[in-house]
Protein backbone atom coordinates (compact mmCIF):
# COMPACT_ATOMS: atom_id res chain seq x y z
CA UNK A 1 0.00 0.00 0.00
CA UNK A 2 2.89 2.35 0.70
CA UNK A 3 4.54 1.78 -2.66
CA UNK A 4 1.46 2.40 -4.80
CA UNK A 5 2.78 5.87 -5.63
CA UNK A 6 5.75 4.30 -7.38
CA UNK A 7 3.60 2.59 -10.01
CA UNK A 8 3.00 5.64 -12.15
CA UNK A 9 6.64 6.71 -12.68
CA UNK A 10 7.41 3.07 -13.65
CA UNK A 11 4.58 3.12 -16.14
CA UNK A 12 5.78 6.41 -17.57
CA UNK A 13 9.24 4.98 -18.12
CA UNK A 14 7.78 2.02 -20.02
CA UNK A 15 5.47 3.98 -22.27
CA UNK A 16 7.56 6.82 -23.61
CA UNK A 17 5.75 8.50 -26.46
CA UNK A 18 8.01 10.11 -28.99
CA UNK A 19 8.89 13.74 -28.66
CA UNK A 20 6.65 14.71 -31.58
CA UNK A 21 3.47 13.26 -30.10
CA UNK A 22 4.38 14.35 -26.61
CA UNK A 23 4.54 18.01 -27.39
CA UNK A 24 1.52 19.92 -28.59
CA UNK A 25 2.17 23.59 -29.04
CA UNK A 26 -0.95 25.65 -28.60
CA UNK A 27 -1.40 29.36 -28.09
CA UNK A 28 1.19 29.25 -25.32
CA UNK A 29 4.72 30.46 -25.28
CA UNK A 30 7.44 28.49 -27.03
CA UNK A 31 8.72 27.06 -23.70
CA UNK A 32 5.42 25.62 -22.40
CA UNK A 33 4.30 22.21 -23.69
CA UNK A 34 1.14 20.17 -23.04
CA UNK A 35 2.16 16.70 -22.02
CA UNK A 36 0.19 13.85 -23.48
CA UNK A 37 -0.29 11.44 -20.61
CA UNK A 38 -1.92 8.07 -20.03
CA UNK A 39 -5.25 8.33 -18.27
CA UNK A 40 -5.05 8.52 -14.48
CA UNK A 41 -8.75 7.95 -13.86
CA UNK A 42 -8.67 4.19 -13.26
CA UNK A 43 -5.65 4.39 -10.98
CA UNK A 44 -7.19 7.12 -8.84
CA UNK A 45 -10.44 5.21 -8.63
CA UNK A 46 -8.71 1.98 -7.63
CA UNK A 47 -6.66 3.67 -4.91
CA UNK A 48 -9.74 5.50 -3.67
CA UNK A 49 -11.73 2.30 -3.31
CA UNK A 50 -8.79 0.42 -1.78
CA UNK A 51 -8.24 3.09 0.85
CA UNK A 52 -11.97 3.32 1.50
CA UNK A 53 -12.43 -0.40 2.15
CA UNK A 54 -9.15 -0.67 3.99
CA UNK A 55 -9.91 2.11 6.45
CA UNK A 56 -13.57 1.31 6.97
CA UNK A 57 -13.32 -2.48 6.78
CA UNK A 58 -9.92 -3.91 7.57
CA UNK A 59 -8.68 -1.46 10.20
CA UNK A 60 -11.66 -1.77 12.59
CA UNK A 61 -11.80 -5.53 12.06
CA UNK A 62 -8.12 -5.88 12.79
CA UNK A 63 -8.41 -3.71 15.89
CA UNK A 64 -11.35 -5.72 17.20
CA UNK A 65 -9.65 -9.05 16.55
CA UNK A 66 -6.38 -7.79 18.08
CA UNK A 67 -8.21 -6.64 21.20
CA UNK A 68 -10.11 -9.92 21.51
CA UNK A 69 -7.01 -12.08 21.14
CA UNK A 70 -4.46 -10.03 23.11
CA UNK A 71 -6.39 -8.22 25.83
CA UNK A 72 -9.34 -10.52 26.47
CA UNK A 73 -7.86 -13.91 25.64
CA UNK A 74 -9.46 -17.28 25.13
CA UNK A 75 -11.34 -19.15 27.83
CA UNK A 76 -9.92 -22.02 29.86
CA UNK A 77 -11.67 -25.36 30.05
CA UNK A 78 -13.04 -26.15 33.50
CA UNK A 79 -15.54 -28.44 35.17
CA UNK A 80 -19.10 -27.26 35.60
CA UNK A 81 -19.51 -26.35 39.27
CA UNK A 82 -22.31 -27.85 41.32
CA UNK A 83 -25.75 -26.24 41.18
CA UNK A 84 -24.71 -23.99 38.31
CA UNK A 85 -26.20 -24.10 34.86
CA UNK A 86 -23.85 -22.36 32.44
CA UNK A 87 -25.36 -19.82 30.03
CA UNK A 88 -25.40 -20.98 26.44
CA UNK A 89 -22.48 -18.76 25.38
CA UNK A 90 -20.22 -20.09 28.11
CA UNK A 91 -19.74 -23.27 26.12
CA UNK A 92 -17.47 -21.53 23.59
CA UNK A 93 -13.76 -20.71 23.86
CA UNK A 94 -12.93 -17.74 21.63
CA UNK A 95 -14.24 -14.36 22.89
CA UNK A 96 -15.63 -13.32 19.50
CA UNK A 97 -17.41 -16.64 19.17
CA UNK A 98 -18.84 -16.10 22.63
CA UNK A 99 -20.00 -12.65 21.60
CA UNK A 100 -21.75 -14.00 18.53
CA UNK A 101 -23.39 -16.76 20.56
CA UNK A 102 -24.52 -14.24 23.15
CA UNK A 103 -25.94 -11.51 20.91
CA UNK A 104 -26.22 -12.65 17.31
CA UNK A 105 -26.84 -16.35 16.88
CA UNK A 106 -29.71 -18.52 18.08
CA UNK A 107 -28.68 -20.80 20.94
CA UNK A 108 -27.98 -24.43 20.19
CA UNK A 109 -30.40 -25.82 22.78
CA UNK A 110 -33.12 -23.40 21.75
CA UNK A 111 -32.84 -24.58 18.14
CA UNK A 112 -33.17 -28.18 19.32
CA UNK A 113 -36.25 -27.42 21.42
CA UNK A 114 -37.83 -25.47 18.55
CA UNK A 115 -37.40 -28.44 16.23
CA UNK A 116 -38.92 -30.71 18.86
CA UNK A 117 -41.86 -28.33 19.28
CA UNK A 118 -42.39 -28.14 15.52
CA UNK A 119 -42.48 -31.94 15.32
CA UNK A 120 -44.92 -32.09 18.24
CA UNK A 121 -47.32 -29.54 16.74
CA UNK A 122 -47.19 -31.26 13.38
CA UNK A 123 -48.03 -34.56 15.04
CA UNK A 124 -50.96 -32.93 16.87
CA UNK A 125 -52.22 -31.36 13.64
CA UNK A 126 -52.02 -34.67 11.81
CA UNK A 127 -53.93 -36.41 14.58
CA UNK A 128 -56.66 -33.76 14.57
CA UNK A 129 -56.99 -33.93 10.80
CA UNK A 130 -57.30 -37.69 11.02
CA UNK A 131 -60.02 -37.27 13.59
CA UNK A 132 -61.88 -34.82 11.37
CA UNK A 133 -61.66 -37.20 8.44
CA UNK A 134 -62.97 -40.03 10.59
CA UNK A 135 -65.91 -37.98 11.86
CA UNK A 136 -66.80 -36.83 8.37
CA UNK A 137 -66.64 -40.38 7.11
CA UNK A 138 -68.94 -41.63 9.88
CA UNK A 139 -71.42 -38.80 9.43
CA UNK A 140 -71.61 -39.51 5.72
CA UNK A 141 -72.06 -43.21 6.31
CA UNK A 142 -74.64 -42.99 9.09
CA UNK A 143 -76.42 -39.82 8.02
CA UNK A 144 -78.03 -39.33 11.42
CA UNK A 145 -76.75 -35.87 12.27
CA UNK A 146 -76.91 -32.63 10.36
CA UNK A 147 -74.35 -30.80 12.39
CA UNK A 148 -70.97 -31.83 11.09
CA UNK A 149 -71.59 -33.20 7.63
CA UNK A 150 -73.93 -30.40 6.55
CA UNK A 151 -71.91 -27.68 4.91
CA UNK A 152 -73.91 -24.43 5.08
CA UNK A 153 -73.30 -21.82 2.41
CA UNK A 154 -72.83 -18.33 3.80
CA UNK A 155 -75.19 -15.76 2.18
CA UNK A 156 -74.49 -12.34 3.60
CA UNK A 157 -77.07 -10.50 1.53
CA UNK A 158 -79.93 -12.77 2.57
CA UNK A 159 -78.91 -12.43 6.19
CA UNK A 160 -78.89 -8.64 5.82
CA UNK A 161 -82.30 -8.73 4.21
CA UNK A 162 -83.71 -10.77 7.10
CA UNK A 163 -82.23 -8.37 9.59
CA UNK A 164 -83.68 -5.35 7.84
CA UNK A 165 -87.08 -7.00 7.59
CA UNK A 166 -87.01 -7.69 11.32
CA UNK A 167 -86.10 -4.06 12.00
CA UNK A 168 -88.91 -2.81 9.76
CA UNK A 169 -91.46 -5.11 11.36
CA UNK A 170 -90.47 -3.95 14.83
CA UNK A 171 -91.32 -0.39 13.83
CA UNK A 172 -89.31 2.65 13.00
CA UNK A 173 -87.63 4.35 15.89
CA UNK A 174 -86.56 7.95 16.20
CA UNK A 175 -83.10 6.83 17.28
CA UNK A 176 -82.63 4.81 14.13
CA UNK A 177 -84.44 7.21 11.79
CA UNK A 178 -82.69 8.25 8.61
CA UNK A 179 -82.07 11.88 7.99
CA UNK A 180 -85.05 12.15 5.64
CA UNK A 181 -87.91 9.90 4.75
CA UNK A 182 -87.61 7.84 1.61
CA UNK A 183 -89.56 9.16 -1.41
CA UNK A 184 -93.09 7.84 -1.98
CA UNK A 185 -93.27 4.93 -4.27
CA UNK A 186 -94.31 5.63 -7.83
CA UNK A 187 -94.15 2.14 -9.28
CA UNK A 188 -96.09 0.06 -10.02
CA UNK A 189 -98.99 2.08 -8.52
CA UNK A 190 -98.74 5.45 -6.80
CA UNK A 191 -100.41 5.54 -3.38
CA UNK A 192 -103.84 7.11 -2.97
CA UNK A 193 -103.62 10.54 -1.36
CA UNK A 194 -107.19 11.21 -0.19
Amino acid sequence: MVLFSKFRPLLQTVFKPTQQIQTIVKRWSSERRMRMMISEFNERKFFDLFHYYFLIGLVPTFCVVFYANVFVGQATLSEIPEDYEPRHWEYYKHPLRRFMAQYVVQPFDERYEISLHAIYTQVMRDQLRGLERKVRRLEHARGDNKGWFYRPEVDNLSELELKKAAERSEGYSAMLAPRELPPPRSWPVAPKTD
Binding site: V70, F71, V72, G73, A75, T76, L77, S78, E79, I80, P86, E90, Y91, Y92, K93, R98, F108, Y112, S115, L116, I119, Y120, Q122, V123
Partner: protein, 189 residues
Protein backbone atom coordinates in the same frame (compact mmCIF):
# COMPACT_ATOMS: atom_id res chain seq x y z
CA UNK B 1 -5.41 -35.14 24.84
CA UNK B 2 -7.86 -33.32 22.65
CA UNK B 3 -5.29 -30.76 21.35
CA UNK B 4 -2.05 -32.46 20.26
CA UNK B 5 1.12 -30.35 20.62
CA UNK B 6 3.56 -29.79 17.73
CA UNK B 7 6.65 -31.97 17.52
CA UNK B 8 9.92 -30.65 18.98
CA UNK B 9 12.76 -30.36 16.51
CA UNK B 10 15.80 -32.57 16.99
CA UNK B 11 18.99 -30.71 16.01
CA UNK B 12 21.70 -32.79 14.37
CA UNK B 13 19.73 -35.22 12.27
CA UNK B 14 20.23 -33.36 9.02
CA UNK B 15 21.91 -30.13 7.99
CA UNK B 16 19.06 -28.93 5.83
CA UNK B 17 16.35 -29.65 8.34
CA UNK B 18 18.41 -27.67 10.87
CA UNK B 19 18.74 -24.73 8.47
CA UNK B 20 15.04 -24.81 7.65
CA UNK B 21 14.01 -25.02 11.26
CA UNK B 22 16.43 -22.23 12.22
CA UNK B 23 14.95 -20.02 9.54
CA UNK B 24 11.39 -20.70 10.71
CA UNK B 25 12.58 -20.22 14.26
CA UNK B 26 14.04 -16.74 13.75
CA UNK B 27 11.36 -15.49 11.39
CA UNK B 28 8.23 -16.71 13.10
CA UNK B 29 8.64 -18.61 16.35
CA UNK B 30 10.97 -16.25 18.24
CA UNK B 31 9.10 -13.01 17.45
CA UNK B 32 5.77 -14.61 18.26
CA UNK B 33 7.03 -16.04 21.54
CA UNK B 34 8.60 -12.69 22.50
CA UNK B 35 5.38 -10.86 21.68
CA UNK B 36 3.33 -13.35 23.63
CA UNK B 37 5.54 -13.34 26.72
CA UNK B 38 6.30 -9.63 26.98
CA UNK B 39 3.16 -7.96 25.70
CA UNK B 40 0.20 -10.31 25.66
CA UNK B 41 0.71 -11.90 29.03
CA UNK B 42 1.16 -8.50 30.69
CA UNK B 43 -1.91 -6.94 29.12
CA UNK B 44 -4.26 -9.87 29.24
CA UNK B 45 -7.36 -9.54 31.42
CA UNK B 46 -8.63 -12.05 33.98
CA UNK B 47 -9.11 -15.60 32.78
CA UNK B 48 -12.61 -16.95 32.50
CA UNK B 49 -13.94 -20.49 32.06
CA UNK B 50 -15.74 -22.38 29.36
CA UNK B 51 -17.42 -25.74 29.71
CA UNK B 52 -18.15 -28.82 27.67
CA UNK B 53 -21.78 -29.40 26.86
CA UNK B 54 -23.46 -32.21 28.74
CA UNK B 55 -26.33 -34.01 27.09
CA UNK B 56 -28.80 -35.66 29.46
CA UNK B 57 -29.93 -39.28 29.21
CA UNK B 58 -32.54 -39.75 26.52
CA UNK B 59 -34.55 -42.73 25.29
CA UNK B 60 -32.96 -44.70 22.48
CA UNK B 61 -34.82 -46.10 19.50
CA UNK B 62 -35.60 -49.44 21.09
CA UNK B 63 -37.26 -47.75 24.09
CA UNK B 64 -39.42 -45.33 22.09
CA UNK B 65 -43.15 -45.86 21.74
CA UNK B 66 -44.70 -46.42 18.34
CA UNK B 67 -45.31 -43.21 16.34
CA UNK B 68 -43.56 -41.02 18.91
CA UNK B 69 -41.88 -38.56 16.55
CA UNK B 70 -40.27 -36.43 19.27
CA UNK B 71 -38.64 -39.52 20.75
CA UNK B 72 -37.39 -40.50 17.32
CA UNK B 73 -35.86 -37.06 16.80
CA UNK B 74 -34.04 -37.15 20.14
CA UNK B 75 -32.76 -40.66 19.50
CA UNK B 76 -31.56 -39.60 16.06
CA UNK B 77 -29.69 -36.60 17.48
CA UNK B 78 -28.06 -38.77 20.12
CA UNK B 79 -27.05 -41.29 17.46
CA UNK B 80 -25.49 -38.57 15.28
CA UNK B 81 -23.59 -37.12 18.22
CA UNK B 82 -22.22 -40.54 19.14
CA UNK B 83 -21.22 -41.12 15.53
CA UNK B 84 -19.31 -37.83 15.38
CA UNK B 85 -17.53 -38.59 18.64
CA UNK B 86 -16.54 -42.06 17.45
CA UNK B 87 -15.31 -40.65 14.16
CA UNK B 88 -13.13 -38.15 16.06
CA UNK B 89 -11.77 -40.97 18.22
CA UNK B 90 -10.74 -42.97 15.15
CA UNK B 91 -9.20 -39.86 13.61
CA UNK B 92 -7.16 -39.13 16.76
CA UNK B 93 -5.84 -42.70 16.93
CA UNK B 94 -4.91 -42.55 13.26
CA UNK B 95 -3.11 -39.29 13.93
CA UNK B 96 -1.16 -40.89 16.79
CA UNK B 97 -0.01 -43.73 14.56
CA UNK B 98 1.10 -41.27 11.90
CA UNK B 99 3.11 -39.31 14.45
CA UNK B 100 4.67 -42.51 15.77
CA UNK B 101 5.73 -43.53 12.27
CA UNK B 102 7.11 -40.05 11.57
CA UNK B 103 9.06 -40.19 14.82
CA UNK B 104 10.52 -43.67 14.49
CA UNK B 105 10.79 -44.05 10.75
CA UNK B 106 8.95 -46.36 8.45
CA UNK B 107 10.95 -49.51 9.25
CA UNK B 108 11.32 -49.16 13.01
CA UNK B 109 7.61 -48.41 13.22
CA UNK B 110 6.90 -52.08 12.51
CA UNK B 111 8.49 -52.95 15.85
CA UNK B 112 7.78 -49.89 17.99
CA UNK B 113 4.33 -48.65 16.97
CA UNK B 114 2.41 -51.87 17.55
CA UNK B 115 0.27 -50.44 20.36
CA UNK B 116 -0.95 -47.50 18.28
CA UNK B 117 -1.53 -49.81 15.32
CA UNK B 118 -3.60 -52.22 17.38
CA UNK B 119 -5.62 -49.41 18.91
CA UNK B 120 -6.37 -47.96 15.49
CA UNK B 121 -7.23 -51.35 14.05
CA UNK B 122 -9.62 -52.15 16.87
CA UNK B 123 -11.33 -48.76 16.82
CA UNK B 124 -11.63 -48.88 13.04
CA UNK B 125 -13.17 -52.35 13.13
CA UNK B 126 -15.64 -51.34 15.80
CA UNK B 127 -16.58 -48.20 13.90
CA UNK B 128 -17.20 -50.27 10.79
CA UNK B 129 -19.30 -52.79 12.68
CA UNK B 130 -21.38 -50.01 14.22
CA UNK B 131 -21.78 -47.43 11.46
CA UNK B 132 -20.30 -48.82 8.26
CA UNK B 133 -21.79 -49.88 4.98
CA UNK B 134 -25.40 -48.88 5.61
CA UNK B 135 -25.69 -46.50 2.70
CA UNK B 136 -26.10 -42.73 2.62
CA UNK B 137 -28.42 -41.48 4.02
CA UNK B 138 -29.24 -43.81 6.82
CA UNK B 139 -31.15 -43.42 10.08
CA UNK B 140 -30.75 -44.68 13.62
CA UNK B 141 -33.31 -47.36 12.82
CA UNK B 142 -31.01 -48.73 10.11
CA UNK B 143 -28.14 -48.82 12.59
CA UNK B 144 -30.32 -50.64 15.14
CA UNK B 145 -31.37 -53.19 12.54
CA UNK B 146 -27.75 -53.69 11.53
CA UNK B 147 -26.84 -54.40 15.16
CA UNK B 148 -29.69 -56.86 15.42
CA UNK B 149 -28.76 -58.72 12.22
CA UNK B 150 -25.09 -58.76 13.23
CA UNK B 151 -25.91 -60.34 16.57
CA UNK B 152 -28.12 -62.94 14.91
CA UNK B 153 -25.40 -63.76 12.38
CA UNK B 154 -22.78 -64.01 15.13
CA UNK B 155 -25.01 -66.42 17.01
CA UNK B 156 -25.44 -68.52 13.89
CA UNK B 157 -21.72 -68.48 12.98
CA UNK B 158 -19.78 -68.47 16.29
CA UNK B 159 -16.53 -69.75 14.76
CA UNK B 160 -15.96 -66.77 12.45
CA UNK B 161 -13.45 -64.14 13.60
CA UNK B 162 -15.15 -60.87 12.75
CA UNK B 163 -12.44 -58.50 13.93
CA UNK B 164 -9.72 -60.11 11.85
CA UNK B 165 -6.79 -60.18 14.26
CA UNK B 166 -5.35 -63.34 12.72
CA UNK B 167 -5.27 -61.73 9.29
CA UNK B 168 -3.66 -58.62 10.72
CA UNK B 169 -0.89 -60.53 12.50
CA UNK B 170 -0.34 -62.61 9.36
CA UNK B 171 0.02 -59.45 7.29
CA UNK B 172 2.52 -57.96 9.75
CA UNK B 173 4.60 -61.11 9.71
CA UNK B 174 4.59 -61.22 5.90
CA UNK B 175 5.74 -57.60 5.73
CA UNK B 176 8.62 -58.27 8.11
CA UNK B 177 9.63 -61.38 6.20
CA UNK B 178 9.61 -59.49 2.92
CA UNK B 179 11.81 -56.74 4.34
CA UNK B 180 14.21 -59.34 5.76
CA UNK B 181 14.31 -61.09 2.41
CA UNK B 182 15.62 -58.00 0.59
CA UNK B 183 19.40 -58.42 0.26
CA UNK B 184 21.06 -55.42 1.92
CA UNK B 185 24.37 -54.77 3.71
CA UNK B 186 24.10 -54.91 7.48
CA UNK B 187 25.39 -51.38 7.99
CA UNK B 188 22.27 -49.90 6.37
CA UNK B 189 19.68 -52.26 7.80
Amino acid sequence: MPEPSPMEHVYGLSKWSDVGYSAIDTLYLRPVRWFHRNIVERLRGPSYPYYHRKFGPVKTIDQCEIQDQTCFYEAEMTYLREKRIDTMVVEILHDRLTRCIAHEGRIDALDKCIKEKDALFESHTNWYQKYGEMGVPHSCVDAYMKQKHLMIWMRQHPEVDLKGWAIERDYEQKTKDYIKSIPMPMEIR
